[in-house]
Symmetry: C2
Subunit: 500 residues, 2 copies
């Protein structure tokens, strides 16, 4: 390794270590920080951002990066530099004042959102929401974009993605999806009686932990806790922390919430430990990340073989609730399709409709086509139009997600990209592993995990999302067809309907 | 405020914010970090130390400090600068390499200590112990000292304290203390039957929380959790986190551990919030800090009025265990004096003997008069000589405390300074508050807390320890006599013995 590269990596080390500390501060704030600590925490996060930003945009950092780029010959060094360059470019476009202000604003907005959601009090949240969107609009202008300010925002989460590409993707998915929702609405409903019962918290927590162990999550390098909104936060691949949310009358929330966050967690734990706290560590984009959570949550977790393997354990934890029921009953119930208010509780089919409306709303708030004060009304109208239902409260409507308070704008579409990528990977995996269903039905998920480790996880952030997809699928680009086919195949069987 | 001072405070802000983040990383590591995260955490802490050290020792920081010192006219600014100057002087004497190396070494040593203590495996810990002492010796040489390398170490925790002063302090305390221990050994023992029972964890936790609320700890600005070694870690005065340790058969550990850490916590919560994450925040020295924990643990918590107020609640939590017992029985039992192995479980009288032996051992390991490999034997011999008992395992001996693994050398004497200061404060408080016993017996601790808030807490780190003591006592210097008198007065009554 050249001296220039060694020197540059030494410059990067404290920066990426502090970034990994920031993840922990965030987790702590969500999971266990006492309420009175909010203002001081906002200052801590702002200071951390400012210090990192200062180190990253220092002229010495830039000249060292350029020297390293000139001398790099090994492929892995080039990848390291590409990732560091991207961070440098993103950071150097934003004035330090804005970075700090946004960090403080979002930290306070998250606290306000928790209160507002609890009290169904959108007005209490509104000034924070407005402030976050004002600052985010400023961010987009500083970052620059070719045709749409939203492009500048989504690129941060999904390098190379644009408003135009998202419009095309949703354009390809929506017609067959709407057809499917309508066909299901007209079909004979399947029973979900098995789920319409109370499941005590303790058992839910036990079963979640069991499932996470079954899919290969390593609790020596991670934790599972509870928070208002489930998330996975990886300080490093050796310390991956997930949360879920428990509701006595909605056992699926903890089951699929845990599998979902577990999918994120497995991807992070698959990042090579020697890359911890470097530009090569962790997931390469939110869309690719989401492909992993969706795969374990839906493609695996809502399949018949999975419940053939694990229903027995669930019944032993909840004997009273599950007496007389079978794995098939569970398989049917967890694939019940019905328009509902809460995104994180939505079924696999209607889920994408939740994403499309959020995408349209945040895009319009960025262009000022929609004023934040009008969000509740706009939300409720879209909900009624696309899903046919109107939320009775903002808590069940526009206050349900943490994203906007946290400044995560341009983030929602990555959930749908995740579904699409997951379907492409799933098609390839089924070709490579002819006994996949039998393995999963026997409770053996190791083959699948190893496939993902080998073909995706181990590359961590050393690849761009399109490279990751290309590598794992043996040459494919982003393609909505496998996702549409997967949904139609699965649900036409479940609901005994014909694809037109 | 002059421009020079405003500018200097802006330089300090990120540094002290990152220091407050470091406290949180430490807490997280002790309380809930998964084991696999240890190496990455060590790197994070080292990076944080390095960045802070870099900012603090930057030439621009120094020149800004000097300019601010020239222009300071307001008293509070002068105090701010004095505290910042002390941090600068401490940091600039140590090469960055040493700061980083020590941070990493202690982080790994703490992990090793947890294992070694669990497995009674001193040999596993020895290389870490040796490494920490080697690095600490190097630290002392860099800091410099007039007559004894240990002076350079204790000064970090107790500004102005020296090896000579500690020898004088212990010289004044030891003879009357040894007399008291001997007199008690010859007296009729008091009963502690009430404590020789199992108390379920859940009730212990409930009672600890109740007691902390009773002494005025604000759970909106703090937490209570569990860890291997109880501690109090204040990220800021708005986020004060304490831990205790539960043992079913030793209910006093959670009661007095909580009151002890609660005393630290109250001092931190009394630091003015506008000083959060600045050089003025938090306690002014470990000795003054310990005066607060000892006061609530012993002077209040082991007094008859305290149990007259709270025994009823304890009995309602543990009706089976406490049926037929009285507040007086509890008061007697918690003041049972007996030589024992574990410092944190020791009674008020023998406690100081535990401190003296630790002080002598660490002082001798610093001067190389004692080799770390010989620590277990030296420990056991001193224990036998001063307390008449020999630990059967190193877990009950030299592996019991976290301090040496964590590089906290020069720290132990501050526990005894705390007892001495607490006794001086207590004498003054009893003069100022003639109804103190009646208040405490009625469960009203607010008067005492307000006295401490007004006379000590609100000054936080704006004062030096000798100034804090002078201010609170109305003009006293460190004096061992009130502590000796307090012990003799209390225990001659309890054990019906005469002071010679």
């Amino acid at each position: 390794m050249s001296e220039a590269i060694t020197h540059f990596k030494e410059l990067c080390s404290p920066i990426w270590n502090l970034y990994s500390v920031r993840s922990l501060l965030y987790w702590d704030q969500q999971v266990l920080m006492p309420g009175g600590g909010a203002a001081a925490r906002a200052n801590q996060i702002a200071a951390l951002e400012k210090v990192c930003h200062g180190m990253l945009t220092d002229t010495h950092f830039k000249s060292s990066l350029e020297k390293a780029e000139e001398s790099a010959s090994e492929d892995i060094d080039k990848r390291y530099l590409r990732s560091a360059r991207r961070a440098y470019d993103l950071a150097s476009k934003l004035p330090p004042r804005l970075v700090e202000e946004r960090a403080r604003a979002t930290s306070l907005a998250v606290e306000a959102w928790v209160q507002a959601k609890k009290n169904n009090d959108f007005k209490f949240f509104l000034p924070h929401l407005r402030n976050v969107f004002d600052l985010t609009r400023e961010v987009a202008e500083h970052k620059g974009y070719a045709s749409h300010p939203y492009d500048a925002l989504i690129d941060e989460y999904e390098p190379g993605m644009t408003t135009q590409k998202i419009d095309a993707l949703f354009g390809g998915i929506l017609p067959p999806l709407v057809q499917l929702v309508q066909a299901i609405a007209a079909a004979r409903p399947i029973s979900r009686k098995i789920l319409q019962q109370a499941f005590p918290f303790e058992g839910q927590h036990e079963f979640s932990r069991y499932l996470l162990e079954q899919i290969g999550f390593d609790f020596e390098r991670g934790r599972l806790d509870q928070s208002a909104h489930p998330f996975c936060s990886s300080s490093t691949g050796s310390d991956v922390r997930m949360t879920d949310r428990l509701d006595e009358w909605l056992v699926t929330m903890s089951i699929f919430g845990s599998l979902h966050e577990g999918g994120h967690g497995l991807y992070e734990q698959g990042s090579p430990p020697e890359w911890n706290s470097t530009p090569l560590a962790g997931g390469c984009s939110l869309g690719i990340h989401e492909s992993q959570s969706r795969m374990w949550e839906n493609f695996v977790g809502r399949s018949l073989p999975f419940w053939q393997a694990h229903f027995g354990r669930m019944r032993s934890i909840f004997p009273q609730q599950l007496w007389g029921y079978s794995a098939e009953d569970m398989f049917h119930a967890v694939n019940y399709v019905e328009p509902s208010f809460i995104r994180v509780e939505a079924d696999e089919v209607t889920y994408t409709l939740h994403i499309v409306m959020r995408y349209e709303l945040e895009r319009d708030m960025i262009t000022r086509a929609l004023d934040p004060a009008d969000l509740p009304e706009a939300w409720n109208e879209k909900m009624e139009k696309t899903l046919g239902i109107r939320p009775p409260t903002d808590t069940l409507g526009c206050l349900q997600d943490i994203h906007w308070s946290d400044g995560l704008i341009g983030y929602f579409p990555t959930y749908s990209i995740g579904n699409v990528v997951a379907a492409q990977l799933w098609r390839k995996i089924r070709k490579d592993m002819v006994h996949l269903d039998e393995d999963i039905a026997r409770g053996n998920n190791l083959g699948l995990l190893n496939w993902l480790r080998h073909n995706l996880h181990r590359f961590a952030s050393s690849v761009l999302p399109e490279e990751a997809l290309f590598e794992a699928t043996g040459g494919e680009e982003l393609d909505h067809q496998p996702f549409v086919d997967y949904l139609w195949d699965k649900y036409s069987g479940l609901y005994e309907i014909q694809r037109p």
